[in-house]
């Protein structure tokens, strides 16, 4: 018995333009309620929309990044429905001719590279925000109404929640790379709806598609998909089918909850918006945008492999975030040892970023700091372990490595007579270990080196100590 999960995603990303989609109100996040509003974004009688050029440009950028066809002749349509967060009784969106048509992107799964196809990317306006008070009243803030969005719709090409997660990661990284969206889920600038169902591969029976709405974190999205995947399979196992419905993810309960059944009744009465003239995108403009595109993650990855002789894996990790890739390259510019820099970044630097859940640009560590630090280790002024301690100190205080080393007296002791003095004392005090070593227990050597490091408070050059211990044992014992 086998089951195949089928997942399609619909992602709304707010574009990081200066102004809203159809008016010159600021597109800044937050602000006091209803202070980023004008006749246009409030849908006041008589007001008319005028399309923001930057929003179109950003959507085209996204289209290019996801290899879509750009429809140079298109238009805006009205999607008619009523809701309290919608000011005009319709959303200005795109129906039959999206600005960006079919496209694709690739994700790296265990079995190799997988292509996820996109149905479309279209532009539309965001809605206001409702807050429900303790008294049960509803308060409405329209600051977000009219903020430009792109809606990205995939084909149902993902077969596990993990694949969906990889796609979402890829999408987020890409939108961030090309600088068209802040992609901050917690601020609502990236929102994701999931369509999921399951097929019994033997009988060919399929469950009805469930739509999961209002997912506000990737983790939540994955958990919701895992939950639904199981629910659909269980339903099939019981010889039943799921309802065609919309559900939401309840983070606290760890389950999805039915919101409404999805009849065939949704009738948005799409029609061209006559307030906005026909849209024609000059071919030259698309080319201009294409030429001004920043290097995309997968191109950067290929370049890193070639230029810096990194492994596919390392290059992949380093280019997953634009900031991290830039940090790496800037560090290499100051210290021409890509492999070594990569080791440091992939190791202690990334670990720290993960622990603190921050991006590299939000930390106190600069490429200059890291290059200095690596130089200190490379020149054996400090040893590797001390280097790690210094790195932590930079993250915590922002001081530069030289200063830290100086202030804490961490310079490595490489002076032979100084090290010899310590080694002799250690051997004197640990005769048993010498015997052990001689009788073939290699571990004893490690212990002795450790003692030397302990007495020197970590400053002794470990290689030197190692060599000297062997020399002296040979000489004296």
């Amino acid at each position: 018995m086998g089951y195949k999960t089928v997942i399609g995603l619909e992602i709304h990303a707010e574009l990081s333009t200066e102004t809203k989609m159809f008016c010159s109100c600021t597109n800044a996040f937050g602000g006091e309620a209803n202070t980023h509003c004008c006749p246009v974004c409030m849908g006041l009688p008589g007001a008319l929309p005028v399309l923001n050029k930057k929003a179109v440009e950003y959507a085209i950028k996204a289209g290019i990044a996801f290899n879509t066809k750009i429809n140079t002749k298109t238009r805006m349509d009205r999607k008619n429905y009523f809701y309290a967060d919608l000011v005009k009784g319709y959303q200005i969106s795109q129906d039959t001719i999206p600005l960006c048509g079919e496209g694709y992107t690739e994700i790296e799964i265990e079995e190799g590279t997988k292509r996820v196809n996109l149905q479309r990317i279209h532009i539309e306006e965001d809605t206001g925000k409702l807050t429900h008070t303790m008294d049960g009243d509803t308060l409405i803030d329209y600051n977000r109404a009219g903020v430009p969005l792109i809606e990205i719709v995939t084909k149902p090409d993902m077969n596990t929640p993990e694949e969906a997660r990889l796609f979402l990661e890829k999408l987020r990284a890409t939108l961030k790379y090309i600088e068209v969206s802040d992609v901050k889920m917690e601020e609502g600038s990236l929102r994701c709806d999931v369509n999921i169902n399951v097929v019994d591969t033997e009988t060919g029976l399929k469950t009805n598609i469930t739509e999961i709405k209002n997912l506000n974190s990737f983790r939540g999205a994955v958990k919701a998909m895992e939950y639904e995947e199981k629910r659909h399979i269980d339903t099939l196992k019981q010889g039943q089918n799921t309802l065609k419905e919309t559900r939401r993810w309840d983070e606290v309960k760890g389950e999805t909850i039915s919101m409404r059944e999805k009849g065939d009744t949704a009738d948005y009465r799409f029609a061209a918006d006559g307030d906005l003239a026909a849209i024609e995108i000059p071919e030259e403009w698309v080319n201009e945008i294409r030429n001004s595109m920043p290097e995309l993650p997968h191109h950067k990855k290929e370049r890193f492999v070639k230029e810096y002789a990194l492994s596919e894996y390392d290059a992949g990790v380093l280019t997953a975030s634009k900031a991290l890739a830039m940090f790496f390259e800037d560090t290499v510019k100051l210290l021409d040892d890509p492999k070594l820099v990569s080791n440091w970044v992939m190791g202690d630097v990334l670990r720290r970023l993960k622990d603190d859940d921050v991006e590299i640009e939000d930390t106190k560590l600069s490429p200059k700091d890291l290059s200095q630090l690596i130089a200190l280790v490379k020149s054996e002024k400090i040893n590797n372990n001390t280097g790690k301690k210094v790195l932590k100190e930079i993250f915590d205080t922002g001081k530069d490595p030289e200063t830290i080393v100086k202030e804490k007296g961490l310079i490595q002791i490489s002076d032979e007579s100084q090290v010899r003095e310590i080694v002799e004392k250690v051997l004197e005090d640990n005769k048993q270990s010498i015997e052990d070593y001689k009788s073939g227990k290699d571990r004893a050597l490690g212990f002795l080196v450790g003692q030397v490091m302990k007495i020197s408070r970590g400053k002794a050059n470990p290689q030197l100590a190692n060599k000297m211990i062997l020399d002296i044992i040979k000489e004296k014992y």
Binding site: P45, Y83, V87, G274
Partner: protein
């Protein structure tokens, strides 16, 4: 002398020569309104204090030797579906009974900039849906020519106010004839400019691919001059045209006394128009007018435009569809009437809208919702848009050959109140000749051309897009011809 009998151009001269202060002028008009508007009911809102204050300001300007703008001191009325900052804008509906816009429409801004004085907001069919000004929540407007008759609509208040001497110039709107038909019914001149010549920013949308602002005045020169102060590309209206310029209009007025301006002008008479059922008196007067133009040197020919007969049906579908979407914003949440009786969001919508929108408005919203719904959009809405193209192409062909086209403005004379309210189809037919002009985005003028039983008859002069100069030239010639008894 009754100052309110003068034209706008004449009044401008008097102000310029300082024979009268702006305050005295505005005072006379306010007096006129006080004496006649109780009966006519052209005004929904009177802007008395503001108007007097602005008049004083202009007088001060004159005193200081500054020159006034093009509309310097002229008393102007504005149809109440054009938004005015801090001045109530109701659209003739209970829905917007207390709505005070926080901004000015573009045309209002222009009038203010050119020193026009806004006397108030004029009555209309609710949300401009109608041809008789009977559906206004604020009562019907009477026709100054005959108080038993409707003034036409939807800009009935705008036409009546000009005819009654309550304002010198007025703004209407024209979606299917709403400026021209009341102009014809009230014996004044009304111009519907080409779609895109005047910004729609601040015009409360009825059907946004058909709506234009309209101007009304006592004669062709007044109306044309007024129009020339309102044109121009507006960055806030993406449908306004960059070729929208007032110069050609002003130039066409300059030559107003040259009787030869229409010599050789090619005039088409769409035979489909003249073959329909037209009031006999209207036919007679319109034919006389055509003869006058011919005698002034115009070359008249009959033409055929096969798709014209579908205009009303096409218009009905498109207007209803656009209305249903445009009026969805009136949901009682951000402005407008909110029902006190609701427990759910849906009830808030339904009760607010049902309580505050009139019968005709609701009917058209219903039709439009039907036409746009999934199962009907192809057979109705899309089909209507296709035939709209065919009608437009009919016009394109006609204007390849002719400078202007002529028809009666309306097939029927002003009618009695209540006469056509029961049958919506018969009411729609009042717009038979005006509707195609909006479908084609063209310009047209209604100009008085005679009387039948004491009721006025209007001639419609249609011009190609942005060829306002042609209809103005023809209008001036006809006016001159009628005056001189040609």
């Amino acid at each position: 002398m009754d100052i309110t009998k003068l034209t706008a151009i004449e009044t401008k001269e008097i102000i310029k020569k300082r024979e009268l202060s702006v305050k005295e002028l505005i005072g006379s008009y306010l007096d006129k309104i006080d004496s006649v508007d109780k009966e006519i009911n052209a005004f929904i809102t009177l802007n008395r204090e503001e108007a007097l204050k602005n008049a004083e300001k202009l007088d001060k300007k004159i005193k200081n030797g500054q020159s006034l703008g093009a509309l310097g001191g002229l008393p102007i009325g504005i149809k109440d579906n054009i938004v005015t900052k801090d001045l109530k804008t109701t659209c003739g509906s209970k829905m917007l009974e207390n709505f005070i816009p926080p901004y000015d429409g573009k045309v209002v801004e222009k009038i203010k900039k050119e020193d026009g004085i806004i006397l108030g907001k004029l009555n209309l069919d609710e949300f401009a849906m109608g041809s008789s000004t009977e559906t206004s929540y604020f009562g019907e407007t009477k026709n100054p020519i005959n108080m038993e008759m409707v003034p036409g609509g939807s800009s009935g208040g705008s036409a009546a106010a000009v005819k009654a001497g309550e304002v010198l110039l007025s703004l209407g709107t024209d979606t299917g004839g709403s400026t021209r038909q009341p102009a014809a019914f009230c014996d004044v001149v009304g111009i519907k400019p080409s779609y895109g010549l005047v910004s729609r920013y601040g015009i409360v949308s009825l059907a946004n691919t058909l709506d234009t602002v309209g101007v009304l005045g006592k004669d062709v020169e007044d109306a044309a001059f007024f129009l020339s102060t309102l044109t121009g590309f507006d960055p806030l209206d993406s449908t306004s045209s960059e070729s929208a310029k007032g110069e050609t209009i002003r130039e066409s007025i300059v030559n107003k006394n040259d009787i030869n301006t229409i010599k050789g002008m090619k005039v088409g008479l769409p035979k489909e128009f003249f073959q329909t059922e037209i009031d006999k008196g209207i036919s007679r007067e319109v034919n006389k007018a055509i003869k006058i133009l011919e005698s002034l040197g115009a070359e008249i020919e009959e033409i055929s435009m096969p798709y014209l007969e579908y205009s009303l049906a096409v218009y009905h579908v498109i207007v209803a569809a656009e209305i249903s979407s445009n009026l969805a914003r009136f949901d009682g949440i951000r402005y407008g009437h909110r029902s006190e009786d609701y427990n759910t969001l849906d009830e808030l919508y339904i009760n607010s809208r049902t309580e505050a929108l009139g019968e005709e408005v609701k009917r058209r919203i219903m039709f439009g919702t039907y036409y746009l719904s999934k199962s009907n959009a192809n057979s109705h809405y899309e089909r209507a848009l296709k035939i709209r193209r065919l009608i437009k192409e009919d016009f394109d062909r006609a204007f390849g050959k002719y400078d202007i086209l002529l028809s009666p403005t309306s097939p029927i004379l002003p009618f009695k109140f209540g006469e056509k309210m029961t049958n919506p189809l018969s009411m729609y037919k009042a717009d038979l000749f005006t509707v195609p002009v909006n479908l084609g985005g063209l310009c047209a003028m209604s100009i008085p051309c005679g009387y039948e039983n004491g009721l006025p008859v209007g001639l419609q002069i249609i011009g190609d897009r942005f060829k306002e100069a042609n209809i103005i030239k023809a209008g001036l010639a006809l006016e001159g011809g009628l005056k001189n008894g040609i």
